[in-house]
Amino acid sequence: MDTAIHFENVTKTFGKVIANNQITMDVRKGEILALLGENGSGKTTLCNMLAGIYYPDNGKIYINGNVAAITSPQDSMKYHIGMVHQHYKLVELFTAAENIVLGLNPKEFKFDIKNAIKRIQEICDRYGFNIDPNKKVYNMTVSEKQNLEIVKVLYRGADILILDEPTAVLTPQEADVLFSVMRNMKADGKSIIIITHKLQEVLAVSDRVAILRKGEYIDTVETKDATTQSLTEMMVGEKVTLNIDRPEVVHNIPLLEIRDLTIKKDDGSIAIDKVNFYIRGGEILGVAGIAGCGQKELCEAIAGLRKIESGDINHVGESIIGKKPQEIIEEGIAMSFIPEDRLGMGLAPSLSITDNMMLKDYNVISPWYNPFVNRNAAREKAKQIINELDVKTPSTETPVRRLSGGNVQKVLVGREISAGPNVIVTAYPVRGLDINSSYAIYDILNEQKKNGVGIMFVGEDLDVLLALCDKIMVLCHGKVMGVVHATKTTKEQLGLMMTGTLDLNEEKPEKSFGIASDSLIQETIVDADEKKEVNE
């Protein structure tokens, strides 16, 4: 087979960090090549050099046998390379067609949108995309936006497509559709590079796998000869056990019970719609759902950070509605939410680990009558967490933002656990972590579970949820589609529930999932309004 791209000793550094070191590898024509590696292994950097975002410090890139100098996105387009970035580059206010023609033919004064729409339709029909050229981007779903991004690069004549973590935001079903589109494009002679760290997808869709580790090129193997285990070992560089433990723990009383909870988003739309569920001590309840289905609002409501519209949140039989966040923490509910940028919530990036310890415990460490900060106690606590969780940091006084992602998350989770909570609400705790750090976090959570703590785990990777959690609750547009036992369900079933195709409430209307048989809530459910009257 012909070679489409050849990297020769390509090196790229950012300051002291070597992102790509002497990489030599090939991409063939008409193949799907998976570029596999952990976060920070240099996959995206390597592809950004093809996209014209970065320029290599050293080494050469050959396209179809000729040396290519790609210094800008325009150059990249000239070489028929198109990259779909992880964060979509689309103008929300424009229609699909306007986004596609953006920046093309600047000499043409008036743009011929009709002709463009015709060509877009042709591309869609050819490969099986489903997009409406006249739809505004802000009305589109995530998978429509992704389709649009791919059509955009095809419209510009791309023969080599780079997809950066394309399935991170898709349900299993949407991912399957994407894979079939990718196969159509391959059959049309296009080369596709898919950047990912999900092994199942690599095995499902690629022809060959190239593995990077810490900026170094390891090897390229035929997918048919590879297994999850062999790929992981190449990716991590050591033997790892891929099984996530699920210790059996005797289940306790329901610690947190949520009844008929309704919460609104910031823009006034409904985030969580009449939701019932409960968490027992000694169990992990997984929460699955497409991003933005109310997970964040639910976590915030439990932590007392967001006003609820109606319903009740009960902690050991007592309502925590109307309590201050501080009082909720004192009751033993800990919440940690790792947003997409990973530093936004929970930790102050420029403060040291010690100072971040005090953010939550300031009133315990230094009582209110003491005007001075007791930094020693906080420093002791920081040291304890650094030792127990094996946080890699030069000192306790290092600003949190200077730590690597895994260590930041360990500090956050460690702080939440150190308060000795009996309920832990954690959202995306392994977001962006390498395999070893992720397993460290799972171990920490399992340790807490064994101690009888009830854990709510909001996650994105269904494989992890299935392996780690006892039960999984699926949210779709703020509604609970059902609560299933992790051992008795499949990824496909969860996928169908995430998109709302399967609603267990309809299948088994006699069963109400979210209400524990031994509920600690004494009275029957009453509306918030009625409750007010009772109180008065």
């Binding site: 580059k89 929300e92 953006l102 920046g103 600047p106």
Partner: protein, 333 residues
């Protein structure tokens, strides 16, 4: 009726000054830059136009009509365009904070303009008032002569102004077509909405920002020219409250929801409301001095009202450009 027509005509002239400022600022803001230096640009434009006219009138015996028109316009456009360039150099190239840079530009513009105007007045041997008679006569020449004398209300209300008044409407319409229908306009809107997207699509973001800001500054400068040459009849005085109009222009951009067409009627409405205090007697209302001061704030109240309405309606098309006020760093991921 007479009183109303006076109110109306003064509102049209005054509104045109605001309109030029707002149109310039709309173009600038569409590139993602919130330029609070508009009052400064208006002031500099006014001063440069005046200075150009003054120097030309004093340099030749019999000024040429064409040059009398073109010299002040070119001077105003170049000076305000350079003010826009200064703003752009700070915010685009040096990535300085847009609000601070804009406010500084306002003070610099007013300062330079006042200083230069004072200098010209001393040169001319006056202490408080200097006039460019010939230029003003041409600019204020109303176009109703083309059709007849202004004996009916229609001609008085719509055709009794100098050409710069009508030119503002032309600029607004051209700007509207440019933003809506042309490729370059589409690219510019993309730069203001999402510069990273525009950059990846091969649009030269820096160039677009520079050109939009400079052309925007130049258009705003025409507002200052209209103020001195038309509204003030070519007279430069020790105090020229052009900044007020600059701030009204900034408010009008929001009021017009970033649409040049809305800026046309919006500017006249603003001026109409602004002059309410002086023409209240037309409606049979007598205002005391503090009341009149309060009434002058009507355009700002109208802007706040519009802000509330667009916030409630949540229509994406009426929101400011998404990256407005945020400098673009390509390296930031």
């Amino acid at each position: 009726m007479e009183g109303f027509i006076t109110w109306w005509t003064s509102a049209i002239v005054y509104g045109t000054i605001i309109m030029y400022g707002a149109l310039g600022e709309i173009l600038t803001q569409k590139s993602g830059h919130l330029n609070l230096g508009v009052p400064g640009e208006v002031f500099i434009g006014g001063f440069a136009g005046f200075a150009g006219a003054f120097l030309y009138e004093n340099a030749v015996e019999n000024p040429n009509t064409f040059l009398l028109i073109i010299i002040p316009i070119i001077c105003a456009v170049i000076a305000s365009g350079l003010a826009g360039l200064l703003y752009c150099f700070f915010t685009v190239t040096l990535k300085a904070n847009q609000n601070v840079t804009g406010l500084a530009l306002t003070y610099i513009g007013v300062g330079i303009g006042s200083f230069g105007g004072q200098y010209i007045m001393i040169k001319a041997g006056c202490t408080s008032y200097t006039r460019v008679q010939a230029t003003s006569d041409i600019f204020t020449e109303s176009i109703h002569h083309l059709v007849g004398s202004p004996d009916n209300w229609f001609l008085k209300m719509f055709l009794s102004y100098g050409f710069m008044i009508y030119f503002a409407i032309v600029v607004a319409i051209v700007l509207h077509i440019f933003l809506k229908k042309t490729r370059v306009g589409l690219n510019l809107r993309a730069v203001g909405e999402s510069p990273a997207t525009a950059d990846a699509a091969g649009i030269n973001v820096t160039l677009y920002k520079y050109v939009a800001t400079m052309v925007g500054g130049a258009i705003a400068g025409l507002g200052g020219l209209v103020y001195i040459i038309l509204y003030n009849n070519g007279g430069w005085t020790t105090s020229n409250p052009m900044e007020t109009l600059g701030w009204l222009a900034v408010a009008l951009v929001i009021f017009a929801t970033w649409k040049p067409i809305n800026a046309i009627w919006g500017s006249y409405l603003f001026a109409f409301l602004f002059w309410f205090y002086a023409n209240a007697n037309v409606l049979g209302i007598t205002l005391s001095i503090p009341q009149a001061d309060l009434v002058q704030a009507l355009p700002y109240f109208a802007t706040i009202l519009v802000l509330i309405i667009i916030a409630l309606r949540k229509k994406k098309e009426n929101q400011p450009p998404a990256s407005l006020g945020v400098n673009y760093f390509r390296e930031e991921r």
